[in-house]
């Protein structure tokens, strides 16, 4: 046990980073045991969390006839890549069509949300106009309403009033903006230094140019995080497509995959798993490329729930 006072003179040599501070705490006798328990816990959880994903991959590469066989693989032992081709080229289902539907809807929704939320966020954060604070409060209040309440009336509105049943517009239109995104962008733009906006005004820039050339570039990291989450939320959405879409050629990916299981019959699990693997690719790519943005995104968009 070290004298509790001695660490003080040592402080200047060790920079106060989160990692160095751990070592200045006293090490009790059980310290190494505790450390071991923690690492084992973290590893077990990692195996539980990732095991099913690697099972999907390993099984998707088995011969379809073996796909039900035990013991399970968590690492590929066979390489029947033709399962992937079989799903993609299947003449019973238009697999690429589902992929395209989901991609199209998620892209449109993402671009639309980035535009509408950043525009409104700019106005709420940087412009003055009568009723601004009241309108902003209205946006905030709408965040509190759970989706459950609007589920039934929205269905009636979209299907009965707008006649959009079985149309992708039924998924796109309600998702053109998000109150949360507006809130997030307002906070972001409030933090941009005043000098920048004043200088631009002096140069005779209109509001649209200020928004487009000064504000948006400043908000790029937040916009990226918002884009990732909006895209994935749309890509992963299941309930809305289940409600609105009726015909196979309109189906989105998640909807198609769940139905694929029944449709392809029980003998073709490897094919269903190949389809699932393909459905995971956008998340996988986004995750590998932008983990930094995602971690940041959850920290700032935590409210999204």
């Amino acid at each position: 046990m070290s004298d509790p006072v001695t660490p003080v003179p040592a402080t200047p040599t060790a920079p106060p980073t989160p990692s160095s501070r751990r070592f200045r705490l006293r090490h009790t006798p059980g310290h190494y045991l505790a450390e071991l328990v923690i690492v084992v816990f973290l590893l077990i959880m990692a195996i539980i969390e990732f095991g099913p994903i690697s099972w999907i991959f390993a099984t998707s590469l088995r011969a379809p006839a073996d796909s039900f066989n035990l013991p399970p693989d968590f690492w590929p032992t066979a390489f029947h890549w033709e399962n992937y081709l079989a799903v993609i080229q299947s003449d019973q289902i238009n697999f690429l069509g589902f992929f395209w539907n989901s991609l199209k809807i998620a892209s449109i929704v993402t671009i639309a949300q980035l535009i509408t939320t950043s525009m409104a966020g700019f106005a709420f954060g940087r412009l003055r106009f009568p009723g601004r604070d009241f309108l902003f409060f209205f946006f905030l209040a709408s965040l509190m309403v759970p989706a459950t309440v609007t589920l039934i009336p929205n269905y009636i509105l979209i299907v009965k009033l707008f006649g959009l049943k079985d149309s992708h517009f039924s998924l796109i239109l309600p998702a053109l903006t998000s109150a949360f995104g507006v809130f997030l962008m307002r906070q972001q733009f409030k933090g941009v230094p005043n000098d920048l906006m004043d200088a631009a005004k002096m140069d005779g820039a209109g509001y649209f140019r200020i928004y487009w050339q000064i504000m948006l570039p400043h908000a790029a990291p937040t916009l990226t995080a918002l884009a990732i989450f909006t895209f994935l939320a749309s890509w992963n959405n299941y309930l809305a497509p289940l409600l609105f879409l009726r015909s196979w050629d309109q189906f989105t990916f998640p909807l198609a995959i769940v139905l694929l299981n029944g449709y392809m019959g029980s003998g073709n699990r490897a094919h269903v798993l190949a389809a699932v693997m393909i459905s995971l690719t956008p998340a996988l790519i986004i995750f590998l490329v932008g983990q930094r943005f995602i971690i940041r995104g959850v920290a700032i968009t935590g409210m999204k729930g």
């Binding site: 399970p72 106005a123 309440v149 929205n154 971690i295």
Partner: protein, 286 residues
């Protein structure tokens, strides 16, 4: 001055059409009979009376309460443990791998993952039962028995969502200033002591936030139970959202579905208010 209105215009219009109007319509629908085919008819208070005589509703709310409590507690406890574990002086590569493993299920389609777990949890040739039998434990009827169906739905939810909360807790941990730990080290505190008297109290604002959003999210879970068990066997794992879906889209009783969703809204409001009220007793703001 007009510019402000133009900038908020698109967002505002979308919000009014797809959020404000539907909310107003929901209140109106509670007093209507509407089956989507014939025009809505005034129903007076019948939908509200139906709520009181609906015996399934009570059981389904019981299920939902069990699910919400179990999922919220497990998700948050595991997420805090994971965040405390990951937020250490590990090698960056090891950290990256851990974070990836925990967080990946969050990003992927819940419906697809629920389908995978349906395969894994099959009673006869399921992977989970196979692994259980390897260590001499009996096979479990995960999805087909009414005792286990809810356990499976909760397990799946924790598996899928705890990584999300972990990242929120990680962000919370990083806001705790180092000076507190340094002061504690100088006073000779053990790691357990600094955990108990610094980390956990200063993490309470994050914990409060995470618990509030967990409850609101869990109360409205649909995909999990829908794909995994379909709410069955019978109503054993039927959650309130599945019931609203059933009333609205297989019975086409839109008025009654709106009435049931209003009860959920009211309960969520009540629970959230209660949490804010109670938070004064346990949440420490700096």
């Amino acid at each position: 001055m007009i510019a402000g209105y133009l900038f908020i215009g698109p967002a505002f219009l979308t919000l009014v059409i797809f959020l404000v109007l539907p909310i107003l319509a929901a209140f109106w629908l509670v007093f209507m009979d509407y089956d989507l085919l014939s025009p809505p008819k005034a129903a007076g208070l019948r939908n509200i009376q139906d709520l009181l005589s609906d015996t399934r509703l009570l059981d389904i709310y019981k299920n939902t309460a069990i699910f919400v409590v179990a999922a919220t507690v497990l998700n948050n406890v595991i997420a805090i443990l994971l965040a405390l574990g990951v937020n250490r002086a590990f090698h960056p590569v090891f950290k990256y791998i851990l974070r990836t493993a925990y967080f990946f299920p969050v990003l992927t389609t819940t419906a697809s993952l629920a389908l995978i777990w349906k395969f894994l949890l099959t009673q006869d040739r399921g992977v989970v039962n196979f692994l259980l039998q390897q260590i001499n434990l009996p096979a479990v009827p995960w999805l087909s028995s009414s005792q286990w169906a809810m356990v499976s739905v909760v397990m799946f939810d924790v598996w899928r969502a705890c990584g999300y909360l972990m990242v929120i807790y990680l962000a919370g941990l990083q806001t705790i200033p180092d000076v507190y730990y340094e002061a504690a080290a100088i006073d000779g505190a053990t790691r357990l002591q600094s955990m108990r008297f610094i980390t956990l109290p200063l993490l309470t604002p994050t914990t409060f936030f995470a618990v509030v959003i967990s409850i609101i999210g869990a109360a409205q879970v649909f995909d999990n139970a829908w794909v995994l068990t379909g709410g069955g066997p019978n109503d054993a794992s039927r959650l309130i959202m599945l019931y609203i879906y059933e009333i609205g889209f297989s019975r086409f009783a839109m008025g009654y579905a709106a009435a049931v969703s209003m009860t959920l809204f009211a309960l969520l409001l009540l629970v959230t208010f209660l949490q804010f009220y109670l938070s004064r007793r346990w949440v420490h703001y700096e």
